[in-house]
Each structure stands twice: as C-alpha cells, then as structure tokens.
C-alpha cells in the first residue's frame, strides 16, 4: 500500500450523476483484490478530507473509479479535468474472498456496481449478476462487463423486471442451492437489508461490501465502523476489517 501521485486521464460523465474517472499513477498500485478501495484526494483546495472509492478497474499504472455525485466532494471531483493532479492511497481494506463454488451470484444496486465491477471481471464465466437501477438509461453503468447471466431490474420498469433488485433476486433464488452458491453484494443499506431478509432461510454464504463515512481509510481513527455481532468489540472498522463483511455477522 502506498500514497501515489496521479493525473487525470479522463473524467467522463456516463449518465446523469455518474462519472468514470481514469487516472495515470506515478507508480503501480500493488496487488489489488476486488472490493478493495482507495482514498482519493479531491483535486482543488476546497475539500479537506479524502474520499473512499472502490477500485473500479486497474491495469499497470492506470486505475479507474466510477462514482456518483452525492455531495460536495463528489461534486468537486466531477469538475476536475484532464491533467489535474491528485493522490491515491491504496489499495485499502479487505476485498472479496473468491471461493471455488459452482454459482457466483453478484447482487448490486445503483452505484454499487462500482464495488463489484472488478469482481465480476475476475469471475466472469461464472458470474450471475443481479443489477438494479432506476431506469434503462442507467444500464450504461454496466458498461462492457462480460458475465454468464444477467438479471436486470429497473424501478420504473423501463427495462427488465419492474421493481427492486431484491424482489427480482427472490424470484430466482430457488434455482440456487445454498451449498453450491456464494453471494456477493454491494449497494445501498436498504438493499443489503432486503438481501439479508431474502436469504434468511436460504442461508447461502454472502459477502457484502458496505460503506461508511471515513476520515483516514487506514484504520487510524475508528471513524468508519460497522456494528457486528461480535460481543467483545462490536464496532469493526470498514476500512480495515472491511469493507467486505460476512452478511451474517453484521447488524443491518
């Protein structure tokens, strides 16, 4: 892990508030596990703390992140242009454990796709992807991703299943045997809650990538915790013990 200077290659608006940022790094990142993230300095001098983003893609000295404009930090980031300098601290945290199972199910909602993109790329031949978004347009976020099976839900029904991705997932769940299945998920808190509920009786092993506000990204400040069922020390650092947790061990 290292703090690496970087320059923006492109900062492209994909659709609505979603952007893809490609960075040229001064040095390579080191081994990246899907699900790991970086702390990115926001170019310009208006944003104080760095912001965490999943490593969307990575090859030698080019790294990309996909992000959604949410508040002041991501807004400032969306205004950065080619050639702007920044710093990239990473790779950080514990990524997904890819076990050797017949079925790899990936459930993602909205910008959550950014957190599982690298994972899907890695397991593409076996990936059954459930992706939920607002409307057809957001399907552009799936980009060039190759995968075995793709199930799409849109809130407005403009493409695929009409409704949320968990409801869609429920309709398919019986096809998968819990013992042969590994579920991976990334998305808003509500989606993860729904997923837990959906899997309650099925009990397939499930790893989820969770988000929390961060200050350091390095395990220094204990600012980014997620409550777990561990009795001795319930609050675990998302940046250090996470961001990928066992769904059955965290409180949602």
């Amino acid at each position: 892990m290292d703090d690496i200077e970087a320059k923006i290659i492109t900062n492209r608006n994909i659709v609505k508030d979603y952007f893809l940022l490609r960075l040229r790094l001064a040095r390579p990142l080191g081994t990246v596990v899907p699900g790991q993230f970086v702390m990115l300095k926001i170019p310009g001098n208006t944003v104080f703390l760095r912001r965490p983003f999943s490593i969307y893609d990575y090859k030698r000295d080019v790294m990309s992140i996909m992000y959604k404009v949410k508040g002041s930090g991501t807004l400032a980031l969306s205004n950065a242009v080619k050639g702007d300098s920044t710093m990239v601290l990473g790779p950080l945290g514990r990524g997904f454990n890819i076990y050797n199972k017949p079925n790899h199910i990936v459930v993602a909602g909205g910008i959550g796709i950014a957190g599982v993109h690298l994972l899907i790329k890695k397991i593409k031949a076996n990936a059954h992807v459930f992706y939920g978004c607002t409307d057809e347009k957001e399907l552009l976020l799936l980009n060039d991703l190759k995968m075995q099976d793709k199930y799409i839900s849109t809130i407005d029904g403009s493409y695929g299943y009409k409704g949320n991705v968990i409801d869609l997932f429920r309709t398919r769940l019986k096809d998968y045997n819990a013992r042969d299945t590994q579920v991976y998920a990334c998305g808003p808190e509500g989606m993860l809650k729904g997923l837990k509920h959906a899997l309650e009786s099925h009990r397939a092993p499930c790893q989820v990538l969770v988000e929390e506000r961060m200050a350091c990204g390095l395990g220094l400040c204990f600012g980014c915790v997620k409550k777990t069922l561990d009795e001795k020390e319930p609050y675990k650092r998302v940046c250090k013990e996470g961001p990928v947790f066992n769904l059955w061990q965290i409180c949602l």
Binding site: L89, E212, G219, E233
Partner: protein, 300 residues
Amino acid sequence: MADLSVNLFHNMLKNPVMNASGTLGYGVEIEPLWKVETMGAYVTKGLSLMPHQGNPTPRVWEVRWGMINSIGLQNIGVEAFFRDYMPFFEQKNMPVIVNFFGFTEDEYIQCAKNIVPHRLIIGLEMNLSCPNIKAGGISFGKEPEAVRRLIDRVKSSTNIPVIAKLTPEVDNIADIAQAAYEGGADGLTLINTLPGACIDTHERAFKIRGGMSGPSLKPVAIKAIYECRKRVPIPIIGAGGIMDYEDCLSFFMAGATAIQVGTATFVDPFAIPKIIQDLGDFLDKNGWDSVIDLIGAACT
C-alpha cells in the same frame, strides 16, 4: 545537522513530534506506510479501565477546513493494550505516552494504577475532556477544583509522569492549567478538540455533535499555549491543527516543548514524517543548532 531531540520528563526524545491521541490507531496500522519509530514518541488511543464500544455512526464529518469526530472513545481497554500492543513498542524500543480517561474519578484512578511503570512509558496523558457521569455529564476539565483534586489523586496512584490534556471549551484555560499544576501535573497537552455540531440541511437533521479538529483550531491552541505558559512552569505539548512544519514553528515559538499531529495524517498519511524532515531542514537552512532554541522564541 541540527539537533531535533528534546528532553521530556528526563527522557531524551529523538524529535519533538508525536501523533495526537486517537489519530494513529494502536500504532501498528501505519506501519505499511512508515515506521512508527520515526516519531519521538507514540501516543496511544484513549484507553480506559474496561473496553468501550464507542458511538454509532456517523462518527466523522467534514467541516470547512476541519472535521468533527464523535468516536465515543472506542477502545480495547488498558489491559488488552498492554497484552496485544506493548510488545510491538518493546521490540522497537519506542517511547510511549499512554492517553487514558474515565467516566468517574475512580475509573481514572484505577486505570492509572493498572498501568504498571515500564521503561518505555514516559508519561500518562489524562484526557480531561471526558464527561463525568456522576456530575451530570459535564466534562472533568472544566472546574479548576475538580481538576486539581483528580490530578492529585492520580499522582498518588502512579509514579509515571502525568500530563493533563485540556479542553479548550472553558472560561479561562490558564485557570485550569494552574489547577492541574497545583494538583501535581508534570506537563500539559494543549489542546483537545473544540466541541461543535453540524447539520445536514438535506436531511434537516443534526448529523454530528462532537469535537472539531484540524486547522481551524490552531489560533485557539496558540492562544492556550501562550496563556498557560505564562501561568505554569511545566512543559507543554502542543496540538491542534498542525498541518506542516511551519505550523510547528508557531507552536514551538508560543512555548511548546513538543507537538502532536492529528487530523493532518488523515489528509496526508505521510504528514508526520514530512514534518520531521522539514523541521530538520528548516533548522539547518536557518542556522539553528537545536529545536530547543525555538521554544518560546515569540514570548519575550
């Protein structure tokens, strides 16, 4: 090469730069980036007699040119710290300052007692910003008489030098410093975070109430050091908004013997080693023999 070493409670520290408590985890987390022994001393996360869970999230919130935290003092307890982490510092032969707190006077005393003297533990830093649950949650560090008595009791319970870390949210910080001195404090750390709050206007709700840290604090810290130094003759460790070596210069010139870097590490994980390097370079370039010559240089 200018001499960066300073003497604190009869220990030579190789340089006057430490981390601020709670901003460098348990000391091991930063190792992939730089060696903790780069610093003159390591200050522990705030430790208590028993482990503490801490607060629910959000625990950190950005404000203009600073942040607010409400970690709620999550820690594994003083016993587990000694068991799990002290060997790491022993192996490095690294001086440690133990930051500790309690929610009652007795918890402070018991905690201090449980910290057995150790050649590497050069001081106990008492976090006086902690709420006193027996006094309705008002923090220990606000009432001079309470501070004097608490420190007096802690001093009777340990042979390790005691450093009182003061909150800036007081009428007159020099009065508190004097009470700490009268209670027997061997040094002061100035200052802890400044209480503040933040609203999320989209959600129309308070998002966090906690302690503000970062550059906004610096003028408040400099004033505190200036006023306390005039009042009490014990060494002062400065903290509050230090981002670079130039900030350090202000703290030394105001009268600090050593300084602590907190929030800066979140902005730049290499802030501490950079500050140490730049400080040495500055002294060399400007013909200072030792960092000691800077201390109090602005207080004539």
